[in-house]
């Protein structure tokens, strides 16, 4: 079979391109600074969130120097906190989100970023995010959850570290910061 040299060239080029694309996907899954969400967060009784030590008073807790835990309840049709009061975290912090739902499946997505996960009743979704710069992000639910799903949104604000103030009882880092 005779193959024209031009054809040989572009067949080779397309094979290289395919390898490149597959490599990109593999890098995205395994490479640095990108992680997948797994079941590490554990489970919780969706009917008894009020008895949970953290979900009973959801919000941001300090767990170490520049390390925070943000407990968020996604319910029809609000993020708590997030919708009425924004989730506030300081810049330069590493925030681990613990998100769960007492009712149906929701989504938790910081609009325009790669922070994007499902929220399941009974399951705690645990994702860790580094917030290097100040800014404001929209939080949206992207799993259809009912009549007012389109209204289910909130805000996350990354404030300058000097302006961030947490009540003392929410500092659970042990031994102070």
């Amino acid at each position: 079979m005779e193959i024209h040299r031009y054809e040989r060239a572009w067949l080779a080029a397309s094979l290289v391109l395919i390898v490149l694309f597959i490599g990109t996907v593999a890098y995205g899954a395994l490479g640095p600074s990108v992680a997948m969400v797994d079941a590490e967060g554990g489970t919780v009784d969706p009917a008894a969130l009020d008895d949970h030590p953290r979900f009973s008073d959801p919000g941001v807790y300090q767990t170490g120097e520049d390390e925070y835990a943000a407990y968020v309840i996604a319910r029809r049709f609000a993020f708590q906190p997030g919708s009425t009061d924004p989730i506030r975290v300081p810049e330069g912090s590493t925030v681990t989100f613990y998100i769960t739902s007492p009712d149906v499946v929701h989504g938790f997505s910081l609009a325009g970023t790669n922070v994007n996960t499902m929220v399941l009743p009974g399951q705690v979704t645990k994702v860790t995010v580094d917030f290097e710069e100040t800014g404001e992000y929209g939080v949206v639910c992207h799993e259809y959850c009912g009549e007012a799903h389109h209204e289910m949104a909130g805000t996350l604000v990354v404030v300058p570290s000097g302006e961030f103030d947490l009540p003392e009882e929410r500092d659970v880092s042990g031994g102070g910061s």
């Binding site: 005779e2 024209h4 040299r5 031009y6 060239a9 572009w10 080029a13 397309s14 391109l17 490149l20 694309f21 990109t24 995205g28 600074s33 990108v34 992680a35 997948m36 969400v37 009020d50 319910r75 029809r76 049709f77 609000a78 708590q80 919708s83 009425t84 590493t94 681990t96 007492p102 009712d103 910081l110 325009g112 970023t113 790669n114 922070v115 994007n116 996960t117 994702v127 860790t128 995010v129 580094d130 917030f131 290097e132 710069e133 800014g135 992000y137 009912g146 009549e147 007012a148 209204e151 289910m152 949104a153």
Partner: protein
Amino acid sequence: MSDGHTRRALLRRGAALGGATLAAAGAAGPVAGQEEGDDEGPAPRPDFGDWLADVDGGYRDARGESETTVTVGARGNGGTFAFSPANLWIDPGTTVTFEWTSNNHNVLPESQPSDGGFDGHEPIENGGFSFKFTFETPGMYEYYCEPHRSVGMLGGIAVGNDVPTATPTPVGEAQQGSGELPGGVWVGIMAAPVGLAGVFLAGILASEYLRERRERLAEGVPQVTELALARGRKQELDHDGFNPIGTAGLLVGYFLLLLVLWGLMYFVQFLGNGPTVTG
């Protein structure tokens, strides 16, 4: 709102039925009570301004009653996200029972008189729960359900006679008013395809005319393509002698485009997008 419809429909069907039927129809509506007590048109009701604009739940005048009930999680606002009645008028000293009829609601005050003392009920409760509050201080109380505030689960309670009131616009007039602007838009939408069809028709007619003109010019004149064939030279090429430079150029262009899009998609859109999940 449906109350108004019921009433109007009945009015149209026959005034001969008399006042007794009308009174029964009023009581059968979802918001029973003294709404629009007579046939002279709606009575003034407490005016909460924008707070209760476009909010379902209805209105009830419970002045003269020592106890009344607000349903938390009644049907409305696109689900079970209404306070019913949303707009309640009571006398000072009236005890209001907030009764949950659906899940995941709470009651939080938005504004109230300085010594109103109404704290609502912040924990989120499910159907079957209820709490009572006695409104002693006259004035306007605005409250909401925190999880469903964005849907319009808002309510207001006016205490005493010294409150701002407004007479609601009859349903019919409001509908006519809001129907006018969309009407114009619809005419525009329907006119657009007609205009588009006109453009196409003009194009077809023009090309038809040009084709006829070309044929007329061609008559009697030797065909240009035949002339070209007659003059053309033939040349034998072996397999690698022919270089499809045009095709190669096109493919190189495609490859470059793919590479550029790949770079944008992956490194700018995905990796370059601020915070990312790291654990």
